[in-house]
Amino acid sequence: MLRTTRLLAGLLVASLVVVSTPAFAGKKTTPPPPPPKSTPTIVANALQSWMSPDIQGAWTAGYKGQGTRITFVDEFTGSDPFSGNWGTGTKTQLHGYWTSQEAALIAPSATIATQNFYSGTTVALAPTGLNVINLSYAMFATAGYNVNQIGWSNQEASIISYAKSGRAVISKAAGNDSVAMGTRTRSGVQDYLGDALIGAQSALFVGALNSNGTTSSKASLASYSDTAGSNTSVQSHFLVVGVAANKTGLAGTSFAAPIVSGYAAIIGSKFPTWTPTQVTNRLLTTARKDTLVNYNATTYGVGEASLANALAPNSIH
């Protein structure tokens, strides 16, 4: 059975911290601090400077992701907190709290569920409403294996199953290695979780832009972000969004994926009867290319996710 290690995409940029799962490695020597009793509550009443202005329209109309659930499989226990500021005050906390709070700020009425990615247990889905699963982590192992050789835990097996069967929107951070998704990194490892999601109907790979793009001020891919690459199966499910690290102190595709998770939740509020695959396709088909510097599918996939476009009709009569 192949051993894999988890790598938090957001932390990679800052410190190249590798977090090993106890089941696989068990080499951590520092006992983790006790987990917070619950995810800190974020009250979103103002558009933060790092957010796309599209979000204001969603809030103005009073729709903030209600009736949907975003599940964060992330690091909620551990000893590697880091600092940042979503506009609600500087904090020092673990990766999972940063990612979940980011999405909660975008879609504050969505139900936020958390699962520590050390658990290895099946990810539960809400019985009704749209399910979104945010994956701001990777599963790295030495490059060169076939993805079918990976022995997944129930946790990842359930996530991959949901993506392939279209039971949940899977928003997956692309990675911070400046390589094409699905290829080996410079350190010779490969993200097999990303590989396993390629071709899945409701999976989205999310890369990071330096800023939110506009037609007058186009955005470019962040230097660290993985690209869509030449695999058309990746390109067709690859989105980019602005990650304004200069405003938040938080860089990495870890913080791109929650933005798309929040968008998916808001779209799910508007179209409560849509399937996760339909929500996924809506985000993909309405992405903008005219807000990106030298758009090409190899770099940007289908383009920059646009909440406003996703909510607006293609045509109306």
Partner: protein, 190 residues
Amino acid sequence: MGAALLGATLALLAPALCYGQSGQRSLDLIDIHQGGGLSDLVHFLSFGGYELSGADSDGTPAFQSFGPWYNTYWRDFSAEWLLTLDDDFGITFGLSTGEHGEKYRIDPSVQLGFIAQAHPRPNATLTLTVATTLWGRLTEYPCEADYGNGLQTVNCRLAADPVDPAETLKYLLNEYPNRLSIRLTYSVAF
């Protein structure tokens, strides 16, 4: 433009019983105007719009303006007359043409009422004006929107908002004009 000018220049003063010769029955045109009321409400809706998710041929996002849906060449036109029956009592009646645009309709209406006066003092007049409007309902029509998963019936104005399309239909306008107007005035001549 023409409708606005007409409304501005031909609106007359509120009715009051005035006789050239005491006790003589007469019929007077007391008000004529275009627009106002529900027509103004709809006219206000014509401002604004939203970007569609599709792009024009030049690559820029297509924009859907509300103007074509809520503008009309003919604003609601109203005329009202006063039939004076005696020195202190008269009947008012009027007609409105109604109007319609691509996404709404205001039905024609009829106005009926009366004016009664009393003179509690020689130089004072107490006037009761009662008017009612029949019909004249404003109905807003929905749109068919394509969100990429088939057509959905939706409130045209809210189609790009993050609201369930079915939910937006609750906000379609379905308004009636002021049904009853009662006014009591007291005037003293110095």
